[in-house]
């Protein structure tokens, strides 16, 4: 019986080539999307699970509020890990990772390479994380100072072999002995370092609980409830943090601290949550967002659903053609059950063919998808058992979903009626079919609106007045490598034609540069009432000029004032928090360092207009600028049409002044765009999916109109004989479908508005959704539908009426 079903199914597919193609292409496209997104989602969900103890590893997060701003950090203080291990038996092991010290210059032959993926770690690294060692003893590898653990590819890069045990690597002019070579860290890890240096080699004022700079992970013993464990942090705060805080602030108890509106709170984040659910200050690398996983999964399902709907619509529309067969089968005694089985077999067969094509499409498209999604997925990932199960189940599930309605609909025919040819065509179920078409267009229009809004927001961010001028600012990285030549370099480059001004600083208004947060007080003795935390940046005299930052009142740093080393320029937010009517001339105080408790004073000499130094997702926080040399970057405002030759000159100068040091540059606007890379990926992916959804919806429309024209061949013939023009016929055939698109628009608008409004809430600075977006999206859908319809309706309208009458 099954072979009979398959035989009929196959012959039907071959016989109705157009419909079969529409079905198969639509389904294959939908399934290909589904496969790609599954690969993406499975990869995203797999982060950090390569660790054998993944379910027992937790990162200590810190939530701190001091003064005005509350910050959520991915880091904690340096003694925290050891303290927990010492005081609580539930903690089996801990490890700290310090990665915020910037890159190191590593010597290779006669040149220096800037290595960014470096970390200082505790020797317990291998007891917590699963990092397979190729050579060396993991337990001993990081116990001695001046040792280093490198990955296999790093070993090959520097020594041409993974056989690098005992060899020496020179980093920042210090020799380190390779004590272990580990396998490359899997790409699906929330950290990805090439070099692990021991903690002993880190130059850091260890011992304070008040400074948060270490990513700290604890391995809890089996069966420990991490939520319950978090309650112990209250004790830790009381026992260790309070005594240190008391020294520098006037507080008698932690309650004083909390009462003033401050907060200090620690929590444990499961390792496997970090990649998708952590968006904190000082992440090792930007993480992904679980929201996008939800959105993509939903979009994939919707696209698949659109393709299924095509299948249902076309199958039921064509029902009159199958009616006779159903009638005969019923007369011959088959039961409804058998017919349902037959039609389901047909749809499953179609889906199996489509799935095979979809796999090929996915394989072909994967490189482009990787490009857009910034992934390194491989089609081999399909062999993952979880996906394989899906790939086998998918045709069956999709086949049943898309085939069930036609199956029940067709098998319900009365044999007497259909054999007499009384069936009034497939239009009986036209209201349901119309509903499904509306659904398809609702989905498409929502996606179109979403795409337009994502693009408008990105455009808004990129062109928004930021309070500084990001255009034509050349940034040279690693200016510290110039050492004493740094001023020579700066001066020589500023004298080049086309260079307007220059400045050297580690702090730039893009998130990839340095940040430094400190606590500022308005009085000499710091208390919770008179202090707040703020960004504190060291800049030069020419900083504002080079970056186009405007002074609101007061003056800039000037070489004419010898006292400017004790001067500070604040931004408008800081001025507002301080609350002075006239802030110029007022003094602020800050700790020289956490250990000594000595306070230094600064005089406010100027206020700059607020500029966006963080992503537009955040409000502009307080900022204090001091006159200080911070040699992270050299920035040049340029005004030239031949940027290329200028860069070449700068590079020549660099090579002369910093021989052997790597030259790398970028432009401020490029660095700025980096901050919105994830939105840009989302934007691109949204466009692709919106297009696919529309293509699939239009394929379905195309099929339905073709069917409708075929059904009405006789009617069209009669109308033409009676004098209808081609235009009349086209209008007649298109009208009904266009009505559906209009209805779909009306339904889609509020849905899209709601969803996109929610997305925009993520941005502090965002666009208003204009009415034109909806009009544009509606018109786009309408025009595309009209074009699709015209293919078939024109053909039908131009057909010879005599011929069309004869076919009946």
């Amino acid at each position: 019986m099954l072979s009979n079903y398959i035989k009929i199914a196959w012959r039907n597919l071959v016989k109705n080539k157009t419909f079969s193609l529409i079905n198969i292409i639509g389904l294959a496209t939908g399934l290909a999307c589904f496969i790609l997104i599954s690969l993406y989602v499975v990869d995203e969900l797999s982060y950090d699970r390569y660790n054998v103890n993944a379910d027992r590893i937790f990162r200590i997060n810190s939530d701190l509020k001091f003064g005005s701003i509350e910050s959520k950090y991915a880091v904690t203080s340096d003694p925290m890990g050891a303290t927990l291990k010492k005081d609580y038996p539930q903690v089996e092991e801990f490890v700290r990772i310090y990665s915020s010290g910037g890159g190191k210059l590593v010597k290779k032959g006669n040149e220096y390479l800037k290595e960014e993926r470096i970390a200082h770690v505790d020797s317990t690294l291998f007891s917590v994380f699963t990092l397979p060692v190729i050579e060396g003893d993991p337990q001993q590898a990081l116990t001695e100072p001046n040792s280093v653990v490198i990955t296999a590819s790093t070993a090959i890069k520097y020594f041409g072999t993974t056989n690098a045990l005992g060899k020496v690597i020179e980093a920042n002019k210090t020799p380190f002995k390779v004590t272990a070579v580990i396998k490359d860290i899997p790409h699906n890890s929330h950290f990805n370092f090439d070099f692990f240096f021991p903690m002993q080699n880190l130059d850091y004022g260890f011992g304070t609980f008040l400074s948060h700079n270490f990513h700290t992970y604890v391995l809890l013993k089996e069966g420990t409830d991490h939520k319950a464990f978090e309650k112990n942090f209250a004790q830790v705060i009381q026992k260790y943090i309070f005594p240190q805080a008391k020294q520098i602030m006037q507080i008698n108890s932690m309650d004083d601290f909390y009462k003033a509106g401050n907060k200090i709170d620690y929590s444990l984040m499961p390792l496997t949550d970090i990649h998708l659910r952590s968006d904190r200050v000082a992440e090792i690398a930007p993480n992904s967002n679980i929201q996008y996983i939800y959105i993509f999964s939903a979009v994939a399902l919707f696209i698949l659903l659109l393709a299924c709907i095509n299948f249902m619509n076309l199958s039921t529309a064509r029902s009159s053609r199958r009616a006779k067969e159903v009638g005969i089968r019923k007369v011959l005694g088959t039961e409804r059950k058998g017919l349902i089985g037959q039609f389901l077999t047909e749809s499953i067969l179609t889906v199996i063919i489509s799935t095979s094509i979809a796999i090929v499409i996915a394989w072909l498209v994967l490189p482009y998808f990787n490009d857009v999604a910034a992934k390194t997925l491989s089609i081999k990932d399909l062999l993952n058992t979880r996906i394989l199960v899906w790939l086998v189940m998918l045709p069956i599930i999709v086949g049943v979903i898309s085939g069930s309605y036609p199956a029940f609909f067709l098998s319900g025919f009365q044999p007497v009626v259909v054999l007499k040819g009384k069936l009034s065509g497939g239009m009986k179920s036209s209201s349901l079919r119309s509903g499904l078409v509306v659904f398809q267009f609702v989905t498409s229009i929502v996606l179109i609106i979403g795409t337009i809004i994502v693009y408008c927001q990105l455009n808004y961010i990129q062109t928004k007045k930021l309070g500084f001028d990001k255009e034509q600012v050349l940034i040279v990285d690693g200016a510290g490598s110039l050492q004493k030549n740094i001023d020579v370099f700066k001066n020589d480059v500023s004298n080049m034609p086309g260079v307007v001004s220059a400045t050297v600083s580690g702090f730039l208004p893009v998130s990839s540069s340095w940040r430094n947060e400190r606590t500022i007080s308005t009085e000499t003795v710091m208390s919770v009432q008179n202090s707040f935390s703020t960004q504190t940046w060291g800049v030069e005299h020419d900083y504002f000029k080079t970056l186009g930052i405007q002074l609101k009142e007061g003056r800039n740093f000037s070489k004419e004032f010898g006292t400017d080393s004790n001067a500070v320029i604040i931004n408008e937010t800081a001025a507002k928090i301080l609350g002075y009517k006239n802030p110029i001339g007022q003094k602020i105080y800050t700790l020289k360092d956490l250990q000594s408790g000595v306070m230094i004073s600064y005089t406010i000499i100027g206020v700059v207009k607020n500029f966006h130094y963080q992503s537009l997702r955040q409000n502009i926080g307080p900022l204090c600028l001091f006159l200080a040399k911070t040699d992270g970057y050299a920035a040049f405002k340029v005004k030239t049409s031949s940027v290329k030759s200028l860069i070449a000159q700068v590079e020549t100068k660099w090579k002369a002044l910093a021989p052997g040091m790597p030259f790398s540059y970028r432009f401020l606007d490029g660095a700025f765009d980096e901050m919105y890379r994830s939105e840009q990926h989302i934007g691109k992916i949204a466009i692709i999916f919106a297009l696919l959804a529309i293509v699939i919806a239009c394929l379905g429309l195309f099929g339905l109109v073709a069917y409708s024209a075929e059904q009405r061949t006789k009617e069209i013939g009669i109308r033409k004989v009676l004098g209808a023009s081609a235009a009349n016929i086209i209008a007649m055939l298109s009208k009904d479908f266009l009505k559906l698109v209009l209805i779909a628009s009306l339904i889609a608008f509020p849905i899209a508005w709601y969803a996109m409004n929610k997305w925009l809430q993520d941005f502090v600075y965002r666009i208003e959704i204009g009415w034109w977006v909806f009009v544009l999206a509606g018109l786009t859908a309408l025009v595309i539908a009209l074009v699709t319809l015209s293919f078939q309706s024109v053909k039908a309208a131009l057909a010879n009426p005599v011929k069309s009458l004869r076919t009946e």
Partner: protein, 225 residues
């Protein structure tokens, strides 16, 4: 074998009520060959559909092989149909996507007959209908006469007790028509009950008895000699 009494069938639309069968009663004995005649719209096809368990009556009784079947549900009717009844239509009603062989095989598939037995019986009946040489062709590749022979082959392959023929020669020329009538007669001679709806007095003469209908009622039954 068949006993119907006071059978009624009424078609209703919003404001028109059409009585298709108005208290029809008659019997058909096992092995009989009955022709039903009458002008268009007299209810003969409705009657045949009810006899073939394709449609259910609105009133009256229908006893088929000793069972009252008038109110059987679709599943039960399908069961009886595939076991006991063969159909021959004016328009052949072969499935276009299946070959001659597969069309004839279909009823046996629904009866879940084993593969070997199926092959034997299909070939036997194709041989008998002299279309064995066409077994791998599709219906559109055959002449009308050949198609009807395939339809007859399909109707008899499950060895039904009753064959219902709805104007079996209506779409055929006289030579092919006579051939089909000959086949039905042979089947009847072999013991199968045949009920045939026809417009043709010539075809009706092959039967043992003619039931004449008018406006949903049996008006005359004459026995052929």
């Amino acid at each position: 074998m068949i006993k119907i009494s006071n059978l009624e069938k009424i078609y209703r639309t919003e404001d028109v009520e059409t009585v298709a069968l108005n208290k029809v009663s008659f019997d058909v004995k096992e092995g009989e060959f009955v022709a039903i005649m009458g002008p268009s719209g007299c209810g003969k096809s409705t009657l045949l559909n009810i006899l073939g368990l394709l449609d259910d009556p609105d009133g009256g009784s229908f006893v088929f092989a000793g069972q009252e079947v008038a109110h059987y549900n679709e599943r039960k009717r399908a069961g009886l149909r595939k076991q006991h009844i063969g159909f021959v239509f004016q328009s052949f009603n072969l499935i276009d996507e299946l070959t001659v062989y597969e069309n004839v095989e279909l009823p046996l598939l629904y009866l879940k007959v084993g593969a070997d037995e199926r092959k034997k019986r299909v070939e036997e009946v194709l041989e008998k209908m002299q279309i064995m040489h066409r077994k791998n062709h599709f219906p559109q590749q055959l002449s009308g006469g050949q198609q009807q022979r395939v339809a007859v082959a399909r109707a008899v392959v499950n060895r039904p007790r009753l064959i219902l023929a709805d104007e079996p020669t209506g779409n055929l020329d006289s030579i092919n028509g006579n051939e089909v009538m000959q086949m039905l007669t042979e089947l009847n001679d072999a013991g199968t009950t045949v009920i045939m709806v026809t417009h043709s007095e010539h075809d009706a003469r092959y039967s043992h008895r003619i039931v004449r209908m008018l406006d949903g009622q049996v008006v005359l039954e004459n026995v052929m000699i």
